[in-house]
């Protein structure tokens, strides 16, 4: 039962128990869903065939409706690249439809030379979409999430206002009509040929969009949807990827508009208003946003069903509203989702009938059974301080010079100067409010300092964006784990590796074998070899931390900044994490700067310690020196001596 259905019936436990008793034996396993996937493919192929062969099996009325469903479906499909793949919600997608449509219609009616060939103009609609998508994208991406959605609404209203108001150009509400593309596409003489042209074009566009969705670029978009911050720190210039997705969506939206004019021979402002944008979203929702062909299914459903509903009642928009409400609350995976569920039930029942033992998906099996790989991790007490005192070991690989940052009246970081030696494991400690996390944010590009410089390997990087720093070899982990939650461990690592190598700019194809093999190696290195197929969200806390380290390695960081790497871990997991950091740093010859509260960890693995207090550096030195330092004791360590004794 969906969560919302549960909530709605939460006031009626009797009803809920009743429903659960009925549905209980029908509960489909994850394996059944996977099996049903294959059936879905067959289903999709059948539907495409039916739509393609429609002129042979249906009357003129249905053919015209199907044509309209194809334009709406293509618009919705392009919208879904944003909504599902990238996680962006656009309220004004119809604006690109409008631009493509008017590009084909206006030159024909106004008899503009060259462009008055509708088919030629149609060939140019992708360009129109791409350019307008880029320009409008620059504006709408000034906002994030909700603001982005509202800006798209605004931009679309603007486009509509022009279409509606500039009567001389667009014809306003009367629009432009009589746009005949070619003799062989005349809707009165050759309606079937026209239909197949529309169908064929849409099919080509669908295939292209499918390839793009399944490419490394599509993977990168999904990563951005899952966890934007992690994407930044995997080396993806997120804004650029999002803008590219927007441009691609705009391109295909415009193609849909141009196709509509060729098919309908007319366009007017009433066809490109907010309702069209809303319909595209509704088609996506009703069909099922998680399924590639969902938007088409939704478009067909809407047009065929509401063609009938509009004739039956004046309350047709109420009916539509109720349908949307119902789907959003009770059936969030849409029509295709319901079909998938039904197929999975079928598979389960079939399996029960045949008494086939339930197959358990690979990832779960590994995580459940004691397949926990034993990785030799050095015990904390075995580890000795590695490189001797950093003095005289050469210039620091990371230098902070006079960094300052204030928030209003509060000075969080006050003229901090420190250097991290190559190959050192350098701890940054201090009480809450000492400015440690702010300092990290300044170094890793999440905030711009008010003053001072950050120099990495001799080059100034002050204020550089996170993805640029990743390309220079800097990796960062956060206090709260940051992973691509819905992706598996292996996918997390592979995506990070692909991103930093630029493979994710590929709009087609798959990752190469070397990248995948490397991911496997990295997982082994951190002890997660058996958990490659498990979704990141399902790993234990300690394993999630290890996965973060693996992704840091995947981006080939030579320099790691770890923000409280053992926060939230149990004492045992803490020891493991600390030992892992030491081991990896030794094996890969990394330089590590980390913030910690756990003094055992600090004194266990650090070569050098900097103590911060109220935004400034209080003291620096080897662990022994810091332990003896009375200022540090007073400011922070407190009863450390007692604690030391107990262990």
């Amino acid at each position: 039962m969906t969560e919302i259905a549960q909530q709605l019936t939460s006031g009626f436990p009797g009803v809920r128990k009743g429903i659960q008793r009925v549905l209980g034996p029908l509960h489909a396993t994850p394996a059944a869903f996977e099996a049903a996937n294959r059936a879905l493919w067959a289903f999709a192929a059948a539907v495409i065939a039916i739509v393609g062969l429609l002129p042979f099996i249906a009357g003129q009325g249905e053919i015209l409706l199907a044509q309209q469903a194809i334009y709406l479906g293509l618009l919705a499909l392009s919208l879904n690249l944003l909504v599902n793949t990238t996680g962006l919600i656009s309220f004004g997608h119809a604006m690109f439809f409008a631009l493509g449509a008017y590009l084909v219609a206006i030159p024909f009616v106004q008899e503009v030379p060259v462009l008055d060939q509708p088919l030629f103009a149609f060939a140019l609609t992708p360009l129109m979409g791409a350019v307008s998508g880029f320009v409008i994208g620059l504006i709408v991406f000034r906002g994030r999430e909700l603001y982005f959605a509202l800006l798209t609404l605004g931009a679309a209203s603007l486009v509509w206002a022009v279409a509606h108001g500039w009567q001389g150009l667009t014809g306003g509400t009367n629009g432009q009509s009589g746009v005949f593309a070619a003799e062989w596409l005349n809707p009165f003489m050759h309606p079937h040929q026209l239909y197949w042209f529309v169908f064929g074009m849409a099919l080509i566009c669908t295939v292209i969009l499918y390839v793009i969705t399944r490419s490394p670029f599509g993977d990168a978009l999904r990563g951005i949807r899952e966890n934007r911050r992690r994407a930044e720190f995997a080396g993806l210039w997120v804004k650029r990827y999002e803008l590219t997705a927007f441009v691609i969506a705009a391109t295909f939206g415009s193609i849909a508009g141009g196709l509509a004019v060729i098919g309908e021979t007319q366009i007017n402002s009433g066809q490109v208003d907010w309702q069209r944008s809303a319909l595209a979203l509704i088609a996506v929702l009703i069909g099922g946003t998680r399924y590639f062909l969902g938007p088409f299914v939704g478009a067909f459903f809407y047009l065929f069903v509401f063609d009938w509903v509009i004739q039956e009642t004046v309350l047709w928009d109420t009916v539509l509203g109720l349908v949307v409400l119902g789907v959003a609350l009770l059936m969030p995976s849409g029509i295709v989702g319901m079909i998938h569920w039904a197929l999975a039930q079928g598979a389960t029942l079939l399996g029960r009938v045949r008494h086939v033992p339930e197959a358990v998906p690979a990832g779960v099996a590994a995580a459940g059974g004691g397949g926990r790989e034993q990785v030799h991790l050095p015990r904390l007490d075995e580890v000795k301080a590695r490189a001797p005192s950093p003095d005289g070991a050469g210039p620091p690989v990371l230098e902070l010079k006079g960094l300052t940052k204030a928030f209003g009246g509060l000075v969080a970081v006050n003229d901090v100067t420190l250097g991290v030696q190559k190959g050192a494991i350098h701890a940054l400690i201090g009480p809450n409010g000492a400015g440690k996390t702010t300092l990290f944010n300044l170094v890793t590009g999440l905030m711009k300092p008010d003053g001072g410089q950050v120099v990495l390997d001799g080059q100034e990087i002050t204020g550089s964006a996170p993805w640029r720093l990743v390309k220079r070899g800097m990796g960062r982990s956060f206090q709260q784990t940051n992973l691509f939650w819905a992706l598996s461990s292996r996918e997390n690592v592979t995506l990070a590796g692909a991103a930093v190598h630029g493979t994710t700019t590929k709009l087609y194809g798959t990752y190469g074998e070397p990248l995948r093999a490397k991911a496997g190696e990295l997982l082994d290195q951190v002890g997660l070899g058996a958990f490659g197929g498990v979704a990141a969200a399902e790993l234990s806390h300690g394993d999630q931390r290890s996965l973060e380290i693996a992704t840091a390695l995947a981006v080939e960081a030579r320099f790691l900044l770890l923000d409280e790497p053992t926060a939230g871990l149990s004492p045992a997991e803490t020891k493991t994490a600390a030992a892992l950091i030491r081991k990896i740093a030794d094996e890969e010859d990394l330089t590590v700067l980390f913030v910690e509260h756990d003094m055992e960890v600090v004194f266990g693995i650090a070569d050098w310690i900097t103590v911060m207090h109220q935004g400034s550096v209080l003291a620096e030195g080897t662990p022994e020196a810091i332990r003896e330092n009375p200022d540090c004791r007073r400011a922070y360590l407190g009863d450390l001596d007692e604690d030391e004794g107990e262990e």
Binding site: L410, S570, P571, Y636
Partner: protein
């Protein structure tokens, strides 16, 4: 130090099962806190400690045999009403309302309980003098330790019979922890029942009289704090 003078237990939980969505995180748990007693639940991260507290507070879905607060059954009572009856939770993370002043933070509390003790804003300022100095300051400008004190003061204003704290030591400097531990001990002496969930066993054992070790959402060991401090016991339940 526990009171055995015929008063009902501050908290008596029997057969608690808690769920996050579909997954069950607490399994058939029994738990008891006497008035004036401080009890700690310890366990690894992910063992279910926070879920237990959230389930008792009513914030997380649960089904229980019984949850009794000072003898009164509350398992079907909505969360905010449990607070008004005298069950206070200080959630993890030193949370406060940053856009309100300290005084406004304290003025928010709604309670109908008396928990056997008088506790007003004056008492809050007396117990935490720093808060009185900061009363017109916006809570967003307070340090972590000050926010935690504010959180405890807020919880106390509900005049609870049972005070629950989720990882109160997280992210706080040792000397702040000492102060908070002292305050909690003082409150327990006045008859308040205290239940705290912790990973930092040193802090917890300083404060608690009795300890439960939790493993995978069920009680694995129960006993006096003194016995719990044995490295072997700790090693078994907090190590791998």
């Amino acid at each position: 130090m526990s009171a055995r003078d015929g008063r009902p237990a501050a908290l008596d939980v029997g057969g608690l099962n808690a769920f996050y969505g579909k997954s069950q995180v607490v399994f058939d748990l029994d738990l008891r806190v006497e008035p004036g007693e401080a009890v700690a639940i310890l366990g690894r991260n992910g063992a279910g400690k926070t879920s237990i507290l959230m389930a008792i507070a009513g914030v997380v879905t649960s089904r229980a045999g019984a949850i009794r607060l000072a003898g009164e059954e509350i398992s079907n009572v909505p969360s905010f009403k449990r607070v008004r009856k005298g069950l206070s939770l200080v959630p993890s993370g030193s949370r406060a309302f940053p856009n309100l002043t300290v005084a406004e933070n304290l003025a928010l509390v709604r309670s109908a309980s008396d928990g056997g003790m008088r506790w007003t804003v004056e008492d809050a300022y007396e117990t935490f003098p720093r808060l009185e100095e900061l009363q017109d300051a916006s809570a967003g400008t307070l340090s972590g330790g000050e926010r935690q004190m504010l959180a405890v003061a807020r919880a106390m204003l509900a005049r609870p019979r049972l005070l629950m704290l989720d990882e109160p030591s997280e992210g706080l400097a040792p000397f702040v922890l000492k102060e908070i531990a002292a305050r909690l001990a003082g409150l327990a002496e006045q008859g308040l029942g205290i239940l705290l969930a912790e990973q930092n066993h040193r802090f917890a054992l300083e404060v608690a009289d009795r300890v439960y070790f939790i493993e995978k959402g069920a009680v694995a060991w129960e006993g006096a704090a003194g016995t719990a401090a044995d490295p072997e016991v700790i090693g078994r339940y907090l190590a791998v």
